[in-house]
Symmetry: none
């Protein structure tokens, strides 16, 4: 299953789990090469010795001067360093997801903005079965926060709007997702029955992220791979993955897990497409093909206006001449108008939107 893809000087190892420090490993990967990054970085701000400064010098675990400020400083430096490498690797139209809790997410969000990413949404994972607060001293910590950002302002990121709307039964997907935490058979265990990883994320979370922000064949990088939830879901959904994980024990669990995953069949991976992707049909073609006759009258959806079709596919309505969109906008006094859904024609006493004719043409094109 492993492949490599050559991009510029360095090669991009696909469907592989790489060992080592994620900042160093990412530094060896080619620029502008991955479509999506999902990152679940360490939350704990008291990591001390486990963290490296951006220059890779180790933080002294027995430093007497260790205090809260140092702690934030080191965490911020670490965060900025990995986010910088991640951004270099990301394709110009790629996007990143980062998950965290109130311990670290504000540091991460600020760093994302400072490094030039452009935040698209913050999304709340609302846990349907969180651990209660036993001491009754605070609110039940029932959610985690995810940040979705593009590489830069104005980038054309992937967002499968229709697919997400379909996932949500026809209503556009919101920024709060109700999903259970990872338990039961999905939760990976060691031989001794302990959980294999303390913060294993549910596959449902990655499913929604990958369906929404990638297309089949896209490359997904996870720099804090853990037990490989990102890789497992990527494989199911026909995406390529690259995992980076420092701990050998986790790499082993992840490799075994992903090996057992079956990819969904091709038909199942097809997802509701956006109308923007449909081929463009000029209105004039309806006239050329005789679906509408020059001189025929069209009526606005609200029955308040009418216009006449001309041989070149423009309309005349009152004083206004122009495209179906221009005439519709002018008659309504609106800044814009979708002529396809605005205008109707009459056949056998019935009023039919002209969009029906466009759909006929599109159906023929596919056949």
């Amino acid at each position: 299953m492993n492949k490599t893809m050559t991009k510029g000087a360095a090669a991009l190892p696909l469907n592989a789990i790489l060992g080592g420090n994620c900042i160093e490993v990412m530094a060896g990967l080619p620029a502008n090469s991955v479509d999506l990054i999902f990152a679940d970085p360490p939350y704990n701000l008291q990591l001390k010795g486990q963290l490296h400064r951006p220059d890779n010098s180790k933080v002294d675990a027995v430093d007497d001067h260790w205090d809260q400020f140092d702690s934030f400083k080191v965490y911020d430096d670490f965060t900025r360093a990995w986010l910088r490498e991640a951004r270099r690797i990301l394709k110009p139209n790629g996007s990143i997801w980062v998950i965290g809790s109130y311990h670290n997410i504000f540091r991460v969000g600020s760093a994302l903005q400072d490094e030039g990413y452009w935040i698209l949404n913050d999304v709340i994972w609302r846990k349907s079965n969180p651990m209660p607060n036993f001491r009754g001293k605070r609110y039940t910590n029932a959610h985690e926060t995810m940040i979705w950002a593009s590489k830069s302002e104005g980038a054309k990121y992937t967002f499968n709007y229709e697919a997400l709307k379909a996932l949500n039964e026809g209503i556009q997907m919101r920024s709060d997702w109700v999903l259970p935490i990872c338990t039961g058979h999905e939760r990976l265990k060691n031989e001794n029955g302990d959980k294999a990883h303390p913060t294993q994320k549910p596959e449902s979370l990655l499913h929604r992220i990958l369906v929404g922000s990638t297309n089949p064949g896209d490359v997904v990088l996870d720099p804090f791979f853990g037990t490989g939830t990102t890789g497992a879901v990527a494989k199911m959904l026909g995406r390529e993955f690259i995992g980076i994980e420092q701990e050998e024990a986790y790499r082993e669990v992840a490799a075994k897990r992903i090996k057992a995953v079956r990819k969904f069949d091709r038909e199942a991976l097809q997802v509701s497409a956006s109308k923007r992707a449909e081929p463009r049909v000029p209105f004039g073609q309806l006239v050329e093909r005789g679906m509408l006759r020059p001189g025929e009258e069209l009526f606005s959806m609200n029955q308040r206006h009418k216009a006449k079709v001309r041989a070149d596919g423009t309309l005349v309505g009152g004083e206004v001449k122009g495209s179906i969109h221009q005439v519709g906008a002018a008659l309504e006094g609106a800044p814009s108008c979708n002529g396809w859904t605005y205008w109707c024609f009459r056949r056998d006493g019935k009023t039919v939107p002209i969009d029906v004719l466009r759909q006929q043409i599109r159906a023929e094109m596919q056949a």
Copy 2:
């Protein structure tokens, strides 16, 4: 109703709305004197052009001068300055709530931590009726984030656990609160009918915060008072308030509003628990959660039709694609169809209606 309370050198004006810049005004207030701070600072939205709805009406966006900042640096400096003064004024066991969106909340959260506050929870306000995303380019922005923090680590902050549990029908209050946005009669209007303030917060939000984090008689400071929601709810609940607001027009509206507020009598607090309809469960969630696999076949109740599940929660049955309801209706030649009771899946040789899976999810949600 106004009183003053002398603390050290300066006097603490109670139940007053102070004009001027909040940083300067706070600088004139005595240290360690207020029990709670609620702050709804400018979000720094950075909006570009005009946004239209699909019906071509204009979205009345926040374009006020007070929300404009030249850069993150300027915004950060402003944030740190007011948070520093706020912390000085706060009693050692007091706490602070700050609300924001992804535009600013990460800056605010980092600043809180850097200034020495200790974050207790981040709390999500899940809006039951948010404005949709009109262009289909992102997730519906359906929530805002609040941060609750004590003055320092180890402080003995107020948390009325039992009162909140009672508010939540006997279940421990979680970090996500579902509340509607401020509309209807509660929304303050100018004489011309326009909204008096672009971002008025619902009283329900402040109600929960004040019940949870203060006791009767406590002093609540709001440095971005706006139209005085904090003051109004504080008065209802028998707390003292101090408001700071730069814009005279807002101060006038707030003063008038608060004057009309009556302190609660017990009876008014009794709110009939609204019977909620059963929560809607999108079919896609069964797929995301692995209860049904993409590619798996479903069978109609009458065994006459079958269809395949796709990754986005739509079905393919013969030539027909769409939701469980749409495909069921099409295959039956019926105008409509309840897909939940129409489709079945097979497990261990048995045929089971998919509605069983929905009931499982609902049971989890209620637990």
